[in-house]
Structure formats: structure tokens, C-alpha cells
Point group: D2
Chain length 353, copies 4
């Protein structure tokens, strides 16, 4: 109820602040007998962790996951899977300077208003550090969905867009550059853009596109729990996300029905796929694709005027090492959340088949 | 679990097919002692019902709600509120011609694949008729949130856009025209567009913008149940919706942090509001605004090629009276879903205050 | 959240007061393609309804269920199943005499304290009339669990006990007498007891035993959602229930481990079954049996002293036609709740197999 | 869904096997600003831990709780509270001898059937060690319910019964003896009984009575989520529990309505309290009291015949240090579960007031 759980049948509950002892989570509902590839899980965490390239924050956090339960002899047992990720450098910093300051476009003001008492160190619970736990659970969900392909990539940084349709991209190149754009040429432009922005002490937004392939037909529930509605919620729950669209998305609003309708081929596939692989909230076997909008990171290295908790006007400037653009590190998070949604519906679908 | 419920504390469960005896729902969790304005509830239904203007479907359905429980002497009792809306003309039609045909971009194929057995009459459970129940519950939620203003309006039809910011609009004019656009001039263009499209036997998409004002500070839960994540899910659960963005939305991805950050005024309000009234998933007291993308209606009056359940290629053409553009009738539905989300968080917020 | 739903995957939500227009419910999660036996459903309702024999209340209520959705051509479609049961004689009575009086051991006082405003007619939402909706849903759950046998019977009325173990009983005789005790001799004593009590204007308690046979191995979830914990909750949610025990129950507390342990036979069955068919919260394939305690009905035909809502001492006496003993009519309700619990775990179990 | 969570608004999710690295849990929904008494939490754990007296298992486990999140400067922040309890001696033992043996009246058989793959070390997830996490969460719930008194005590061991009504007991003496019976004389008999049983290599059952005082009026939800139904589920979810009764319980089934009804005093209290403080599922301000039945511990130090996973008959005998009677150590667990139930309804009640 208080917002720290996601999923119904494949359910993740997370805890932990950026500067506490550890963050962690519990996965409840993972079927027994799934042989886990622990390296693959850690690899997903490594894709998200700070310090992995020159265009992301240079903080050092090893982000090593430790599983505490639910796994025996390398396989899941059906019991709840508890895990923690220790915060390795949480004690060294001094946060008194931001203790009473409301950073613009952060959650400082709203958390203080809502809870009265908050852990102000490094954003506390509102820190994106929490997403590491999603990546752990998502990596397990991916292994459960072994035949499904989940591919996210950076499709824009500021006004640098990757215009090509996903069908023409070589996803094996996504990890070959720091910005995680599968087109090497556009990737270089994006990287240059991010470096220029960082030099200004500023930040920039961007979009992530995600493609889900080989999703079984029939995932999703009608009415309120449509597959795309849950995907949308999952994406919008990621820090800094401002928008979600799937299939034809906002562009589809300018189309006519005669242009937009996906006609069927005799085998039940559709000749076009403006529907984005989902009809009536249920997967139809075609590719599912969607786009997620990320705003620019709120912490900038320029001086800003803000207020403190008593309403005094104060000057502040970002300290420490922050991301100039959140998008490259968001790729594994988008994939993880997509995997969690699919795993949940996959289990749900098994009930009725 | 099977998708027919929305909300946790103010919870709506719906049932009913477009051509069964009746549709209806149960609202569980509405606080006791709320004096209901029944005319206001019916009025919301009337805004959604078919046949209300020349640019919507000309079907006749009175859509009269009958409350069966949970209300005594005009006030809620705290018990579950059951209600039905009878389907008045459900018996007259012959649906055998679509029994085995998969209409393009409808849910016929996915429902058949998922359930094996489906009520094919008029779309059955996948029909947008189901949204009438949401409007009933949303109308009660609105009455619970008496100080909150919820205003949706048509912000585009095809490529006709209402470019003005919402602050410059006079919401009292939204209901003054058939398309529900508060700018009379743009409204006329939209209406002309819809009429032209209908003449072609075609349909067109559009967008709805919704503004929530006087929302208390502190609504929303962190991490997975952020206020905008739930609003997004609510909107994406409405038939024909392909996208959702709030605050700066997709445009925000092209901005720099120094441009996008909302600086605080001494009273805790913000000088700009690109955040869209929500920070860290929690309302900050500023206006909440978001935009919803609707695709063109799939049923068109032109001949289309499709397949039947045995994979035979067949020709089909839409029959009956359908909407050329779903947006005007979607306005009360968007408002209703927004009200349901707010009511749920409003009750959730009372727990901790 | 507000208590009107039961189950997670096979979920019933109910509404309705005893003297409103109708009571009803929604079943969400029933798999598609279940061919329903409507006579069997109505038959279960008839077992619960008033006026069926000389030892139960002589009120006349036909209790005819009307299904509104989720069923097409006699089979479930996977959509939510809405149903209503009209209250046929709700308008005739005058309840002003109990409007402000708190009947002893009824919910009048607590409802008034909790909700402020309540429907006082005939107990409103706290009336056992609500259980008719459980019987409808339970009858469908029984049909889903076609191989499982669910047999409840009256095992005591006051101090008249059916001492025989369930294994020696002929369940086909349960319906052959008005008290629903499968031993005709004991049944006659129970009936005589109830008649004597009624003559005094008094009421009497009793117990129901229920036996579940052919339950698949593996139903139930560990830790908090143990099968017997959910059965216990289900039974304790029935009006007038004060206790629940399964297997050896309270008697088992006086035994030694060496007496109580159920030793295995080579085929995995157990030679004794003090465990009651459940080990570690999960069904083991042996018979599940439990016992439910019902207090005497609170409405008696004798004068009692009580208070009104202003604390004035008043005299009151039961009016109308009430049950002298709730147990005979509780049999189908106990069975229905057991069926709902099993159906939920049955679907849950399908996820992992 | 998979059974590792309890509660809706004050929600505990647990993980961990008896012989893994650690057990732990997440509490989601605890209001912010609760100043925690950490000694009191550890004290509750100490009441449950092994080795605390001569009549319980002599295993040594310090059971020290470590909080990882949700607490800052000694107070809750409203964020999820993660905690772990390390298993200190989990590596030393050899469990190969029970790897394939199904211990009688344990969960070995059912877990193997349900999950295929299980952590057989020390009972794995089915071990009562898991209840330590309940005690941690319950201790925090108790602090949230500062005015409520929750008092459990041993009311029988085998056929040694504490016959006195709870009103005549001095609860301050409960902790003064090893069996946790507030009557010192009866306590000595119980202790002697347990010692004699242990000498035989056997075990014995017993009952726990629990009294909840100063519970606010109005806790509990109607219909399915009655306060006593949830208390019953909570108690039945504890390992070894076979029954639950509240108020007059099973004895009440032999009473007449005229004897059983609780007449009101002018102040709204009742002159008797056979209802057990709950009417219509909602607390009425009177003491809530209930009784819980515990079977004898299944692990005995006598030789038993059982089977292995291939159906071979094998001899086995309990090893290690086990409890001869579970009841003394169950007292804090019963209190913890009662506190969790009350905390959940307490938060739920705040929604509507």
C-alpha cells in the first residue's frame, strides 16, 4: 500500500536509502526450480552502476548483490528471495548543507511535507539508487522468460534523435558504446552532446525505446490491468520519467482509422503493427515496443536560488558526482521493469491455461 | 487479479458486456456520510453517453444508473455501493456476421486466443461501454474530493491542435461545444474535421489534456506507486489510449536541467511548473496536468480485408453507428479515472496524517 | 480493503443490504469455458434460503439469482461475473422501532460507532442475508473443483453431539432431515432440541463439521497464507462464528508428539490423519476436516433490556421470524466458503505447475 | 500472493530459511515519526529465542535484529523498514541424513510435492525460525499502538489447565516463570509436566490465551475482513496451531441466546462479554480475548518409522535440540501477530475518521 511493492504474482518489495547500510528487496512468487545465472544478474547491475563510463557519474559503488534466501544449490526453491546490496561509501559524506534546503525539482519538499521526518542524506528513499533492486529482480524475471527478448536503447538525447525504426537496428551494438545507442554514428553525436552539456555544468533529457520480442500471445488482463497500462505504470515509476507511449503513440493521434488499422495476415499476424503488439490490453504475438521520456537530471553544477525549510531564500550548487544525462544508465532499468511486468502476466496467464 | 478492479482503498470493480442484460460495478471503500448529488452523477453519465451530439455515435442508450446498496437516506453508509446500468437495446441485433471474423485492431483475435470462448456481441467485455461504470464511480469520487477541480478537454483532433496553454483557457466553455474544446474557434475546426472524416467513412485520433487543481500536498506514494505512475496506468487503461505524458512530458526530454528545474518561491510554490505538480511521485500543491493520446477508432465504414477464426481471408465493413472520433466522449472518462486515482491517494494519505 | 472482497485469484466482491433493492456480487477470476450448471447453483441457494423447513425462520424469500455478465451460451467467458438477488419483501416493514435501539450482541452499536450513518433496516449490511452471495460464488467454485468433494453437516446443537467420526457417516443422508445431520437418530434429537428452544422464545448454538475429499496435493501457500489459515478466516467471517479448529484441533493440545504424529505409508499417504490433511500449510492429499463453532442467534423472542443511541435504558423484544438455531442453514455457507478457499488456491497452484 | 506477506496497510513481508545466511523482512506502511524503542524490540526477540530457559530448546542463537532502512535519527521515516537477523550457526551441521527422509507431521512431504526442489536444511522455509521476523514487526506494531495492552500467556500444557478467568490473573507475573503462565502454582505444574515429557523423549501440546485491552472502538471491517477473522488467520498461520476461538468460542455453542447475549450498560459497555469485544466483526471497546491451540512438536527423540522420497520405509530419530513444548516460546509470537492485525486495522480505521 505504501508503494514499495510491484507486481501481484511475481512481486518485488524493496527497501533502503542511498546512504543507509544497505538497500535490498524481497521477490515473492518466483517459481521453484529456476536455475539462476548469477553472473547474468550481476552483469545487469554492472550496466546500471555508477562509474562505468566517462559520460556517467564517476561515483564508485561496486553494487554487489548478496542473496540471503530462496535459492538452494543454485536453483530457486519457491520461497521468497531476499537480497541486499551494501552501500559501500555511505558514511563518508557530510549532508548538513542540504539538510534544510529544498533542492529544485527534487523530492525534498514533498517528502518533508508528507512525512515530516526524512532521511535527507543523498535523497534518501527518493534516490535513484533504489532502482538497483529493480535491476536484480528484473534480471531474475528475464531468466524466467527465457524465450522473450527485451531490448532497450537510447533513442534520443536532447534533440539528437535516432530516427531509424527499431527493425533496422542491430541490438548487439547497444552495449558497444557508452550511451547505449545501437547506431554507432548517432551514438557518437549523443556522447558529444552529453560531454558538452556536462562541461556547462548542466544536464539533458532523452528518451529510451524498448522492444519486447517473442512475447507469448495472451499476456495482459482486460479493462484496468491492460498489458500496456501496467507497462506504462512500471516506466512512469522510474525516477525522472515524464511520459510513455507504445505502438503508434502520440503520432497515432494524427492518423485516420484507415491508416492506423493493422490488417491481419492469414496466420493471425498483422501486416503492420501500429498497435504495438497489444490489442484490447492483451499481447497478440507481434513485437511490443514503447518509448519512455526522461527529463534532465535535476542536480546541476550551476548555482541556483532556492529556499530552505523555513522559507528563506538561499543559493545552492550541486556537489559531488552526478549524471549529466540519466538515459544511458536507465537502459537496464527500463528492461528490468519490462521484465517484471511480463513475468507477472506470464504467471497470471498460466492460471487459465 | 483478473483486471476488473481499480484502486486499493477507494476501489471499483466492474462487470458487464455491451450486449448483456446490464453492466455495473461495486465501489468498496467510499467513506460513510457522504451526501450524494445523484443528478451530478447522472450528468456525468450523460456527458459520456452516445447520441448526445451530431459528431458522436447516434446510438440511443439512456445510461441510467440504479444504485442497489451502500446508500441510505441519500448518504453513503460505508458499505459497498453496488450499481447497474441496464443495456436497453441489447437484444435486437444480429451479430452472427462478426461471430468468427477478427476485426482489425480490435480485441477479437486476442480475446479468442486468451479465453477460447468469448461473447462476440458488440465487442463483449472489450467494448468501451464498460467505461460508463468508471464514470459513475468517478462522479462519486469527485464528490468526495469536493475542493479539487478536475478539468479535461480536447486538445487536438488529428492535426488540429489547441496550442494555447491551459492557463489561458476558460474551462467553463468546454461543455459549450460538441467536441469539448474550451476555445470556440479551435472547436469549430475540430468539429469540421470530424465531420469531414466521418463523411469519408473514416475515423481520426486526438488528445485530451487534463488539469487537476487544488490537489492537497502529499498525495502519492514513493517508488512504485508514484502519483503520476498511477495516473498513467489509469489513462492507459481507457480504450484506444496509446500514450500519456505529464508536466513537460516528451518535450521535457529536449530541455536542459537549468531550463527545466522549477525554482521555489518563498511560500513553497514553484515559479515554473514543468514538474506538472508532482515531485518524487508526490503532489506538491501546484497544478497537475497531463496529456492522453487516443488512436483513431478501429471501426470504420470502409471495406477492409481481414481473416476469420479459421484463417480465411474475408471482406468486412463496419455496420451500425460508431464514433468517428472517440475524444469528445472520452473527456468525462479521463476525468473519472483521474478522480478515482486522487480519491484513492486521498484516503491513503489520511492514514498517515 | 473495506472488507467486501474475498479471494485473490478467484475473487468475490459482494454488496447489498437485507432490505435494499437487491444484494449481489462480482466474481472476478473464474476461468473461461466452465460450463455452468445453473440448477445446481440455485439448488445451493435453496439450501440456504429461509422458509425451507419447520425449524428455520418462516420468512419467504425466493432468493433467485440473476446473472448479468461473464457467461455466454452457458459457459463462463473469463470476464467478471456480475449477479444480483432481488430482495422481494423489503418494502413492507417498519423499522422505526429499532432505529435507535442497540440490540444486544448485534452489530448495531459497533456500526453506529464506526460509520455514524447506517442502514438500520433489518441489520443492513451486517445481516446474514449477505451470505446468499457467498453461496452463489461458492456454487460456481464447486463446479470448478469438479473432482473435490465438499461435505458439511451439523455436528452439534447445544449439547446434543454427533459423536461418530466422519468416516462412519453416510453423507448422502445430510439433506434428508431439516437439521442437516447425516445420522437420522441424532438428527431427531437435534430437531427436538431446536423446537423446544424455539418454544421458549430462545435460540441455541451449535457446530458444523466439514470434510474436503480428493483435494489435490500441494494447495496452500507457506508462512502467512497456509491453507488452514485461510479456511479459518473464511469460516470466522461467517456471521455468528466463534471458533475454528482443524484436524486434531483443541483436543490435539492434550496429546503427545508420539501419539499425534501421522506416520507415512509407503505410498505417501499417512496411516493416521490428526494433521487434518494439511502439513506446513499445504494439502497432503489426505482428507481435510474442520469444525466451526456457531453461537446462539442474538435475536430472541424474550424481552431484553438494552439501550438506545442516547444511552437510555429501553425494553425490547425480537419481532418477526428468526432462526432458533443458525446451524442448519449455515451448512451450505460453510461449504461455499470452503469452495472459495480451495478454488483460489487451486488457481494459485496452477501458476507453478 | 506466494504467502510471504501479512497485512494490507501495515504490511510485513518476510524471507529466509533456518539455515541460510540470514532471515529478514520488510515492513511497509509504518507511519513516519514513530520514535522506536530498540531495546523493547530486541527484548521481544529475546522472549522468543532458543536457549532462554531449561524447558525450551538449548540451541544458541543470539537473534540480533539489524535494521537496514526506514529509520533515521531513531524515528521511522515512512519508508519501508528492511531488517535482517543473521543465522549464526547455520554452517556447522550435516543434514544429509534427512535430505530424502519425510519426517512425520512435518512439511517435508508437502514442500517436496509442491516445489520439487527444497532447502531441506533444518526445515528450510517451513521452520518456525521464520517467526522471529514476525516478532520484530510485531514489536514495532506494539509501539504504534501505544495505548493498547496485548497480553498472551500459557493457559494449558497437555491436560494441565489454568482454569481461572483472565480477569483474576496478574499479567505482570507471566514473565516470572519459564512456561509463561501468570499463576505461579499452575506454572510449576506445567513446567514439571514439560520436564517429564522431555525425559520420555516426547513432546506435548498446549494452548495460549491472549487478551487485548484498550482497543479503540471501531477496528475491523465488515463481511469478509472481520476483526476476529483476521485474528484467526494470523494465529492459524503460526506453526503448529490447530485451532482458534474468541469470546465464548466453542463453549458458546452450547449456550442459549438468552444466556449468551451481552446486555448493554448505559455507557455503551456491556455487562457481560461473551462476544469477546467484537460485534459484527468490529471492536466494541470491551476486552478482546481469544485462545489458540498448539499441537505437540513433531520432532521427538524417539525412534519413528517413516519413508524416504522413494517410498522406502526407514527408521529415524530426532537429533539436535528441540522444544518439548512450543507454547512458552509461542507467547511473544501470538502477541506479535495480534499487534500486526491491530496495527493494520488501526491504520485502516484512520482513513474513515
Amino acid at each position: 500500500m505504501a508503494g514499495n511493492s510491484f507486481g501481484k504474482l511475481f512481486k518485488l518489495t524493496t527497501f533502503g536509502e542511498s546512504h543507509g547500510v544497505a538497500i535490498g528487496g524481497v521477490i515473492d512468487g518466483c517459481p521453484a526450480n529456476l536455475a539462476l545465472d548469477f553472473n547474468a544478474i550481476q552483469e545487469e547491475l554492472n550496466r546500471r552502476k555508477p562509474g562505468q563510463s566517462s559520460i556517467v557519474t564517476q561515483r564508485k559503488e561496486p553494487d554487489t548483490v548478496e542473496f540471503l534466501s530462496g535459492i538452494f544449490e543454485g536453483k530457486t526453491t519457491g520461497a521468497s528471495i531476499g537480497f541486499i546490496i551494501k552501500n559501500t561509501n555511505q558514511k563518508s559524506k557530510d549532508y548538513t548543507h542540504i539538510k534544510t534546503v529544498y533542492r529544485p525539482s527534487h523530492a525534498d519538499f514533498t517528502y518533508t511535507q508528507k512525512y515530516g521526518h526524512r532521511d535527507y542524506r543523498g535523497g534518501g528513499r527518493s534516490s535513484a539508487r533504489e532502482t538497483a533492486c529493480r535491476v536484480v529482480a528484473g534480471a531474475i524475471a528475464k531468466q524466467l522468460l527465457e524465450h522473450v527478448s527485451i531490448q532497450a536503447y537510447t533513442s534520443s538525447v536532447g534533440d539528437i534523435f535516432l530516427e531509424k525504426p527499431y527493425q533496422s537496428l542491430d541490438f548487439s551494438k547497444t552495449e558497444s558504446n557508452a550511451v547505449r545507442c545501437p547506431d554507432p554514428e548517432v551514438a557518437q553525436k549523443m556522447i558529444a552532446k552529453i560531454k558538452a552539456i556536462r562541461k556547462e555544468g548542466d544536464t539533458i533529457g532523452g528518451t529510451v525505446t524498448c522492444v519486447l520480442q517473442n512475447v507469448p500471445i495472451g499476456l495482459g488482463e482486460p479493462v484496468f490491468d491492460k498489458l500496456h497500462a501496467e507497462l506504462g505504470k512500471a516506466m512512469l515509476s522510474i525516477n525522472a520519467v515524464k511520459g510513455f507511449e507504445y505502438g503508434s503513440g502520440f503520432c497515432g493521434t494524427r492518423m485516420k482509422g484507415s491508416e492506423h488499422n493493422d490488417l491481419f495476415a492469414p496466420d493471425g499476424s498483422t501486416k503492420t503493427n501500429l498497435s504495438g503488439g497489444i490489442q484490447g490490453g492483451i499481447s497478440n504475438g507481434m513485437d511490443i515496443y514503447f518509448r519512455v521520456a526522461f527529463k534532465p537530471v535535476a542536480t546541476i553544477m550551476q548555482e541556483q536560488t532556492t529556499i530552505d525549510s523555513e522559507g528563506n531564500t538561499v543559493k545552492m550548487q550541486g556537489k559531488g558526482r552526478h549524471d549529466p544525462c540519466v538515459v544511458p544508465r536507465a537502459i537496464p532499468i527500463v528492461e528490468a521493469m519490462a521484465a517484471l511486468v511480463l513475468a507477472d502476466y506470464y504467471l497470471q496467464h498460466k492460471i487459465y491455461n
